[in-house]
Amino acid sequence: MTAIAAEAVTVRAGRATLLDNVDLAVGAGETVAIVGPNGAGKSTLLRVLSGELRPQGGHVRLKNEALGAYPPRTLSGHRAVLSQNVAVAFPFTVEEIVRMGAGDRHGRAADALVEAALAEVDLLGFRHRIVTTLSGGEQHRAHFARVLVQLARGEQDHGPGLLLLDEPTAALDLRHQIDFVASTRARAKAGTAVIAVLHDLNLAASFADRVVAMHRGRVAADGPPRTVITPDMLARVFDVALASCGLPVGVPCVLPHMIAPRTRNAPPAATRYQS
């Protein structure tokens, strides 16, 4: 079943075209990593899929209904979103933040969701801490727990939903990156469609069934990690030369060359070293 489908989505801001005719359909239980250089339109696409931004062209359908037709409250039961940076203006505790994900659900039903999420992100001992006194990674995990509670609440009511993640691992240490991948994989196994914007290509390869490479507002490549993360795509989209490090993990693994010859906008190597 298709969880969310974007057809010919176009977003303009002033004279710039941020998304140009983007098609993307993600099925229930699928994990998709969106990769691409800065300004490729990854976050804009995520904002369109979340319903936050209405595209000037094209359509987005969530569970076969027009995304724009969902009132915010209903929508929050079908999809949850983890943003990259969340600034909390008042001294809420971790538990109070996580409980926000439970919406209007109170009592034991909400408690169970909150406990499970706190345990999953490894913050049980931090529940009474003021969230702004935590480190960046800990704060991010608190918000991930909140999003997990919202997703679980929605899935109890409406069945498998959609989980959107913007740079979910940027602030996390290695241990919690691995935990995070395990969490999202478990969700996908239960039928949740997971879409994440990622910068780390190795993480994308190990995290996702499918990688979508964005370039200048368009989809440049879309498929299993092995077919998308190739030297050719990396040169074309990321403008860098990368070497495979050949670890026996069955997924592509890349290392940037420290002195990467630019493939565009740069003089040929021969002339560069002459003067």
Binding site: S50, G51, E52, P71, P72, R73, T74, L75, S76, G77, A80, V81, S83, V86, A87, V88, A89, F90, P91, F92, T93, E95, E96, I97, M100, G101, G103, D104, G125, F126, R127, H128, R129, I130, Q150
Partner: protein
Amino acid sequence: MTEAAVEPATIAEQHRPPGLRALPRWAVLAGLAALLVAAALVSAAIGSAGIPPGRLAAALGLTGGDGAAAEVARDRLILLSIRLPRIVLAVAVGALLATSGTIMQGLFRNPLADPGLVGVSAGAGLAAAATIVLGDKILGGALGPELLPVAAFLGALAVTAMLYRIATSEGRTSIATLLLAGLALGALAGAGTGLLVFLADDRQLRDITFWTLGSLAGSTWPKVWAMAPFLFGVLAALPVIARGLDMLVLGEAEAFHMGVPVEGLKRFAIVLVAAAAGAAVAASGVIGFVGIVVPHLLRLVIGPGHRTLLPAAVLFGGVVLLVADSLARTLAAPAELPVGIVTAILGAPFFLLLLLRQRAVVGL
């Protein structure tokens, strides 16, 4: 946990919520309500004509009393026609100011926002002054005092809506822009009020001066009735808006992701801020700092969750203004200080302290 270096005391600290957040909601509100009743009783007993506690019960008709009938009648008159309307109005105005401040801080996601500081009260004062002067001139006094809260509400609404448009872009509010724009709008409203002074006759001039200083001296039952619909309207709206304001604290995008209809919530919050500030200003003039001190102290003790914070601000705002007004009545007795001066003397240093602690955030 992984942090091995934390002190044992810190770990113990982590196992209970900070402040009094572990207290159930009803206990917090019951405690504040008891405080409010105590403050009201003390305020009823003291003043230029003192009514000792023993006679207070008699005057209220609760006990037969042992005093002379004439004395009871005198106490009763003072209590019912002078002191009680003043107490009720002080509590109502304090509640409205604190509520207005709390909602405004939630809307702008900053603890420094306050209707008195950012010109909302000044806008309400200008509208009220214009109603007094121009209403008399144009309509020959056909406008009753019950229209004042409506005019003040519209004045406050205009300023709040303008402030929001100026200070917020793409879901982010600049507190520096908010304070500076509020300063400008407040100055503009003050200038407008100043112009009206030239048009005013003596009686109107007294009324306008009263507005700009902020005082509860002219409290009467009709003033209480005129603000009552606003008070009850705002109170009824608090449960509706509380959860949305909590989520808005994380930002507009996050609130939307969690299911809050953000645009509707913001519009509703602006109307509530204006209704509460406008009704308060119409009844008592511009009284500053209640809206900033009350929610800040409460957040330290019971936390920032609006489901408890908003009703707590209603009760504690009433307590604070009642105490301030009792001080205003008694400090310089038999003369009387405008209560706006008392709240400014207590509140302005508090605001400066808050500003110092927030300096990095504000970026001024």
